[in-house]
Amino acid sequence: MITLEEAQQWTCDACGKPLVMREVEFYYLNGSFHVNLPACPECGLVFINEALATGKMAEVEGILEDK
């Protein structure tokens, strides 16, 4: 999972604000998950890095898709 220090290295391109860790709710195939992820404190855009997308999220998708 991305740490606060890592999140603060990123800045929202639209708002110019450094990202902060925020609880985000994912929805996928009727399943929902609360996860702490970096997000823009201004517009709320969430940053999902490649490791998360191809790692945890892919594994969760596989389970929800009953694969």
Partner: protein
């Protein structure tokens, strides 16, 4: 997904400390220690429509979350029983005055036909002698009384390649086997619902919290056993079910008391 042993009171031999005592599981399930939390219980309560004041027993009550919920929000005369000293103490601390006892599912300290309803949530698969437990549940319930049972079950039968060790996963059986066990005792199943999505959601939370399911299991199992667990789980395709069963009256002519709310 509890790993206490309702029959012996011992912890899961896979784990030290037992899985249910770890923050790893608590973070994903909260104090209810099972998929679905209280939402599945509320769904089942809508079906059984127990009247306020009804005498209800929660077998494998853990930290007492369901017992407290039944008493406070439904006016039920609920009691909990669990073999784990730690969980019973936690229940009493969290809910002062809550009636929770230590005891085994196969040997309930209650008289015959002394209860109106019974709960057994994510517990039966942990009981070494599930059939004996079902007989005990039947004995203590009044004729026409209803049991709410939720548990992990195998969506792929037969039961080969069981997960290593003793846990709710290794003790899970298929739908056919579970229904047969109930029928053998005399239970009449009034409702069967699949809620496997709740188990998938719990698995998803564990993945997000620990990086992967393999990483979660490696906290409790040697690396080889963790891999074996992952393989076995994939084969058994664990699901989660809710069922409501009725104690069919004895053959002495007592009349059935069926709830209109229960659908087949």
């Amino acid at each position: 997904m509890k790993t206490s042993n309702p029959a012996t009171g011992g912890g899961c031999p896979l784990t030290a400390p037992p899985l249910y005592e770890t923050q790893a599981l608590r973070q994903a399930t909260g104090t209810v220690l099972r998929p679905g939390g209280l939402s599945l219980l509320n769904h089942a309560l809508d079906k059984v429509r127990w009247q306020a004041g009804a005498r209800i027993l929660d077998v494998g009550c853990g930290t007492g979350a369901s017992v407290a919920w039944l008493r406070r929000h439904h006016g039920l005369q609920a009691t909990g029983i669990d073999p784990s000293r730690k969980l019973v103490e936690e229940a009493r601390k969290a809910h002062p005055g809550l009636p929770v006892l230590r005891g085994r599912a196969e040997s309930l300290p209650f008289g015959d036909v002394s209860l109106d309803g019974l709960l057994c949530e994510c517990v039966l698969s942990l009981v070494p002698d599930a059939s004996q437990a079902l007989k005990e549940f039947y004995r203590v319930l009044r004729p026409g009384g209803l049991m709410i049972l939720s548990d992990i079950y195998r969506r792929a039968e037969p039961a080969s390649d069981a997960p290593p060790g003793q846990s709710c996963l290794s003790g899970a059986v298929g739908k056919t086997t579970l229904l047969q066990r109930l029928q053998d005792v005399g239970w009449r199943v009034r409702l069967w619902e699949d809620h496997s999505l709740l188990l998938a959601e719990l698995a998803g939370r564990l993945i997000f919290q620990h990086g992967s399911l393999a990483a979660f299991w490696r906290q409790f199992l040697p690396d080889g056993a963790a891999r074996e667990m992952m393989t076995a789980v994939k084969i058994m395709r664990p699901g989660y079910c809710l069922l409501i069963a009725e104690k069919v009256p004895c053959r002495d002519g007592e009349k059935l008391r069926l709830s209109d709310a229960i659908s087949r």
